[in-house]
Amino acid sequence: MELFGIFFAAFLINNILLIRFIALCSFFGVSTKIDTSVGMSLAVIFVMTISSAVSWVIFHFVLAPFHLEFLRTATFILTIASLVQLEELYMKKTIPALYRAMGIYLPLITTNCAILAVAFLAIDYRFNFVQSMVYSIGVSAGYSLAIVLFAYIRERMALAPIPKWFQGYPIAFITAALMSLAFLGFTNMFGL
């Protein structure tokens, strides 16, 4: 029940894109087409889960024993960047089909702030390993939900008669704000 709560809190109530406003660059950058947003979502789920697991281990077994918690920003950036490289190499060799599907998104994700944010938040909330895994899956699922929904709306908007001054990013920001308001409706759901 507790894990269920963590998942839904990360998935809907504290949605990383629409409530926390983290990783907005990719939210606007790759949401113009449904295909690319789905590819990006899959890559984020994959990378976020693995990188938060590894950074949890590094924090608790390398940094904490030496009382070097203040070094976590540099360490996590290092960890995530090399991990994504490693995953890319591994996938290219063993699962070429999957690599072609999400390969171009992997380097983008290296610098995605949501990945770093999840690694930090899992530590700030003092989660244990299983909790932090569930949390990162919840966050990445929430990311996918928000960006795919947004891509559907933007594909429809591409054909809509929008006033000249609102075309492109302005209307996208307005839409994102409305979606964010809608997601506020999940607050206090499940008594969390």
Binding site: V62, F66, L68, L89
Partner: protein, 262 residues
């Protein structure tokens, strides 16, 4: 002391990750045919897909494997085919350059309309709504879908008609595919004669709708029987007969719908 530990820990971590990456790069190395990279460097890099492969890299890969002929890249033409043939060590096939041709000659002010169209300004949209109000159900709609899709800027729109620059056109076929009226086709570069009409209406009908439509009068067939023939109320050309003089037919065409480019 504390500073030293932090430097040490970060340094060791960095070292471990670098070592891991180095090992992985070696362990997960993929043997790629070195010819793929050299072929890729020669290709135009437009990733247009005219060759039938999924992009230039895929094309280079499949040429190196011998699945596609060295002359498969229509965009690169003879020059690229020759270079690839050199790399692959085979005799290059001669590539006949082709360019796109528009089979409609009715300019905006020559088109008769039965309604005015105010929907989305694309040919695709206008075609769905009963041809955008055009009387002729075969002719060019003039919203320039071909102009928008051309990756080589070879198409210009003048008076609602696309004009193709034969020097820039690479026969990638994107405009042929996008035209909802199917009035663009490919012709040989060295045979610059085009029947600029696609109407299969009977002659009398076409004459009412369009001043420059083919009325299937058969004059071209009489003057150059090897090249022209009338099928289904429309003159069509046999482009395999390059080199035959079509000038009399071009001159005598009563509606001037046979056009010669110079």
């Amino acid at each position: 002391m504390f500073v030293l530990i932090s430097i040490l820990v970060l340094g060791i971590l960095g070292f471990v990750f670098a070592g891991l990456l180095g090992l992985a790069a070696d362990y997960f190395k993929i043997e790629e045919d070195p010819r793929v990279a050299t072929i890729l460097a020669i290709l135009p890099g437009a990733n247009c897909g005219a060759c039938g492969a999924g992009g230039c890299h895929d094309f280079a890969d499949r040429v190196a494997k011998g699945e596609i002929a060295v002359s498969g890249c229509t965009v690169g033409g003879a020059e690229v085919a020759r270079k690839i043939a050199e790399i692959m060590g085979v005799e290059g096939h001669e590539v006949h350059k082709k360019v796109a041709a528009v089979h409609c000659g009715a300019r905006e002010n020559q088109r008769k309309k039965k309604a005015s169209y105010s929907g989305i300004k694309t040919c695709m949209g206008a075609d769905i709504v009963d041809g955008g109000g055009l009387m002729c159900s075969y002719g060019c709609l003039g919203y320039g879908d071909c102009f928008c899709v051309c990756p080589f800027n070879a198409i210009t729109m003048k008076e609602g008609l696309p004009y193709i620059d034969p020097e820039k056109c690479t026969a990638c076929g994107k405009c042929v595919a996008v035209c909802p009226r199917k009035i663009i086709s490919l012709r040989p570069y060295d045979f610059p004669v085009v029947v600029a009409c696609s109407s299969h209406d009977r002659g009398a009908e076409t004459r009412k709708l369009c001043p420059v439509g083919c009325i299937a009068c058969n004059i071209c067939v009489k003057l150059a029987p090897e090249v022209f023939k009338v099928e289904n109320n429309l003159a069509v050309m046999d482009y395999s007969k390059a080199g035959i003089n079509c000038d009399p037919a071009v001159e005598k065409c009563p509606t001037k719908c046979i056009v010669k480019f110079v």
